[in-house]
């Protein structure tokens, strides 16, 4: 693929998928700066790959981007956990104070992997089958994670309201 075509794919992908990938990333790293750095790395990887070979279709491209984002986010989250540099509070400053702030706070309390599955299922609308491929988990594990997350959220909600 020539350079101009790769630049076009990059520009399109940044316009179309930045927000989604940013949300995927922030579920792990919990701060805007790291999530933006991850985005840059992911798109650089996309550009490099586009110069060599293309993608079957938009869905293939999106799934590839999410997969790479998850992998990079896990690495950064692990690094942050070891070096304790993450500003965990960053994400909370973005929280708005309207009627969904309560749920957002409770979702933040979930385990990062559960949070990721909740995001892909409820926000991105991916079916369980696709999530299991993206995260390299069995469908049963994804179902379990979803049900666990729902139970936990229910538990948190009832605690909060007590």
């Amino acid at each position: 693929m020539d350079k101009r075509e790769a630049e076009r794919i990059l520009a399109d992908a940044i316009g179309k998928y930045s927000d989604s990938l940013f949300r995927v990333s922030i579920a792990y790293v919990r701060n805007r700066q790291d999530a933006e750095d991850i985005l840059q790395d992911v798109f650089l990887k996309l550009y490099e790959r586009s110069l060599k070979k293309g993608f079957n279709d938009d869905e293939h491209l999106k799934a590839w981007l999410i997969k790479v984002t998850i992998r990079k986010s896990i690495n950064v989250a692990k690094y942050n956990a070891r070096h304790r540099t993450t500003q965990i509070t960053d994400i909370y400053t973005e929280r708005q104070t309207d009627d969904y702030s309560e749920l957002s706070f409770l979702i933040d309390k979930l385990h990062p992997i559960d949070r990721e599955i909740v995001y892909l299922y409820y926000y991105e609308g991916y079916p369980v089958k696709d999530i299991s491929k993206l995260l390299r988990k069995s469908e049963a594990s994804v179902f379990q994670a979803l049900s666990r997350a729902r139970k936990k959220l229910k538990g948190y909600l009832s605690e909060e309201r007590r």
Binding site: S18, F22, F43, L44, I113, D114, Y123, R148
Partner: protein, 378 residues
Amino acid sequence: MNYKKYMEQFTVSEITKDRIYTNIISKKEKKMKYARFSKGFAFVFIGIFLFLAAGMGIWYAITNSTDQTLQKRQSSYILAFSCVYDKSRIPFRVDDFDENGEIAQSVGSLSELQSFSAEKGFPFFDETDENYSADLSKKIREYDDVFFKNNSLVLLFKLSDKYDLSRFDDLRVESGIMTITLNKPEEEGTLSDLYAFVYLIETTKTLSERVLEIRTETLQNGNRVDYFGQLYSGFDELYSSGEITLDDIKSVSYYCGKDVDVCGETITVEPNYIPKEKNPESLSEETLILIYMSYVDLIAEEWKRIANPSNNPKIDEMLEKEIKTMLEIITIDDYYGTYNGYVAINLTIDLSKSGGLSLAVISSYSQSLVMFWKGHEQ
């Protein structure tokens, strides 16, 4: 309450998108320029390298003599075995050690090795001795005539009154003197008792034939070293970093006879699951000791951090007491196999005997059912 609405607050501004695009394109441009430049440079570099290599070859052939300094080369020696024993478990007599508490010997044949053992009263070849079947003795008996055909064995035994003495760092031969370098941390150990350190170093025959005398030197190293190995609590860290696989975890779960939690997920083993074979089948005494020492080391570090040593003049005395207690109350109950070099174990602490031990310190390391340990890699 709307989850979609909640997630929508996380967006990337147009400015950031533009910045990402510009950064990537300019980064790539720079890389391509560099690639063009480095291609040209590579030819020049290869030329210079070949010229230097030929020159060095000639120089080596001219100057190679028996007295020259042998730099650290992977092929000239390897550390084949190292272990530390506490007083109650030293598997040999320590009466004949010199005033430095050290015995260093190079042997070039099986008969030399046998006479050395007999002379020092070591039990390695003495079937009547209770330590004949100790792991160290077994290891030493593995060296046979085939090994000694092209190799020699350097044995270094060192006694110390501190548990965190030194670790092997380097070996070199200069003017007929073999110098074994050990590295010592700046931080002194705090547990005072008798400890024996054993190092078995395999060398090439050509290297050891030049040796007239063996010396040891100890360097002070600023960095703290995990002498005994590293412990990991639970599966999460090793699994998420790809060090162990899901299949490894299932095998551990199988040997535990329980479901295990990994990254917030419960792993259940299917009834017909066939686990990986345990390799080794059981843990050697040396490994068990290293695991115990790693644990004590870890707890001591944590304890010191919490106890705020700068404000506490009696810190060493207190820590010594804590560590002695710790050694008495921890037990490795089960071994669940070794996966990618990580030894899976169940380590329990008898809290009823903990006495004055700070429970807050040990609690974070004792909650998990399974711990992993990996030995220090030389």
